[in-house]
Symmetry: C2
Subunit: 300 residues, 2 copies
Amino acid sequence: MSVLVVGTVAIDSIETPHGSAERVLGGSAVYFAWAASFFTRVSLVGVIGEDFPTEYRKLLEDRGIDLGGLTTRPGGKTFYWKGRYHEDMNHRDTLEVQLNVIADYDPVLPSHYRKIPYLFLGNSSPVLHLRVLEQMERPQLVLADTMNFWIESQRPDLLRLLPRLDGLVLNDEEARLLSQDDNLIRAGKKVRAMGPKFVIVKKGEHGSFLFSQDGVFVLPGYPTEDVIDPTGAGDSYAGGILGYLASDASPPPGRLRRAIAYGSILGSLTVEGFGLDRLRRTSRTEIDQRLEAYRRMIDF
Amino acid sequence: MSVLVVGTVAIDSIETPHGSAERVLGGSAVYFAWAASFFTRVSLVGVIGEDFPTEYRKLLEDRGIDLGGLTTRPGGKTFYWKGRYHEDMNHRDTLEVQLNVIADYDPVLPSHYRKIPYLFLGNSSPVLHLRVLEQMERPQLVLADTMNFWIESQRPDLLRLLPRLDGLVLNDEEARLLSQDDNLIRAGKKVRAMGPKFVIVKKGEHGSFLFSQDGVFVLPGYPTEDVIDPTGAGDSYAGGILGYLASDASPPPGRLRRAIAYGSILGSLTVEGFGLDRLRRTSRTEIDQRLEAYRRMIDF
């Protein structure tokens, strides 16, 4: 089965305690698509400006990612983000944001995309998410991301979106904000009661929780000694999850749990290099080896 | 096999967002002993003052904890701690500390304690820990706790102690401080290279890492919806670990991993009530049920 992602395509400048990277390829849709492409075919919907480097487009095409839904805005400039990570890389400062072409982006899906069964709605406004959903025919599984900004500024729209999702992925802070509960287990359950069939709460290096019909699934973070650049880890995580789900037809709950473990591994690989560097150097074989190591590491 | 604990016996006054408890029984040796007593016989070495309530002594005796090494200092007052937890209960302020009888405590072990095979050195100075070790004959397994204060103020003594330990248990912040490495996986490995056969790094609600000959074992925290009072969770965790180890003669590494899972469950129970309240209400049956639920929650 194939996967559709709607999200940002960006140019990122990144500083971390380990070095810096200038104007590298980034964006939620890019990390998601790259991670999902280890498992299945991925089509990308997004917008770029005329300044978008040809080599970045070629990189995605060579990876086999379908860019039929990637629009170039005439005269526009690509979304740009510049950030600096602290010594404790769980924290970062945004130094510069130029929304550029994404400021008023209203995605129109190519007609043959409307039947794609697996959909990821990358972090964006719930209003935009709802407009994308209206264009889809009958997606088999819809996963969405959100963030503090939307929870605070578009809560009513978000509450309309949630019952239309299969899965919502959000981080610990966002889950607390959305549920207004400090305890993360109660928070996850409350968010699920708002509509999604399952809720995944990410805790960065500390792993994640899945709240579903199957109860609570707890996964520690995959331990890594080489955290170079956390940018894109959350989107790679989502890409690993949905890519794997689209590739495995076995019944839940095992399938969803394995998917989250794969997502966690894709996230762990992403942080081991700047931008897409580490993901570009990995393989399905290495990913599967890491999954087996993961199982051994948590077994008691 | 039986277990010996050397640590503090305290009177605690605790405030949390869920309420408060005045002058309840606490201290590292008490939480440790109570948790370990679900698995094996425990002997306690510590010091109290003449003000120590008879009912607290009776509580420990009725639990079957051997108090042959609990000294009452004539004219002395029991160690007193008063603290307040923040809304985010990972943080607390110490409002008052009266060291009283523990200020110049120099434990002398009753002669029949010197052959006890399992020893826990509760958080105290490494100098005191070394003096206790000198009194032991040939303990089979020695586990110790430490904290920032000793790492900073008595580092050379601590470095002398570490090679004499089988296991060291410390939290994430302490592991970073001791190893001078921000990455927790590298930090754990570096601490192990300082001498202990195994190192357990606690991350509170986020679980723990074990670094041993067997590699890295990763355990997420047991998820709990009812965090009432975190006091004593770390010592209960250690008590669960060493108590279980003393009760299971099967070969490593499975035994040590199971022990840490039991420790985590004892810690999770402790936080579900003020002071010892929740531990007093639990049973080995409930603990084992929680262990099975734990296994199911992390399986993928």
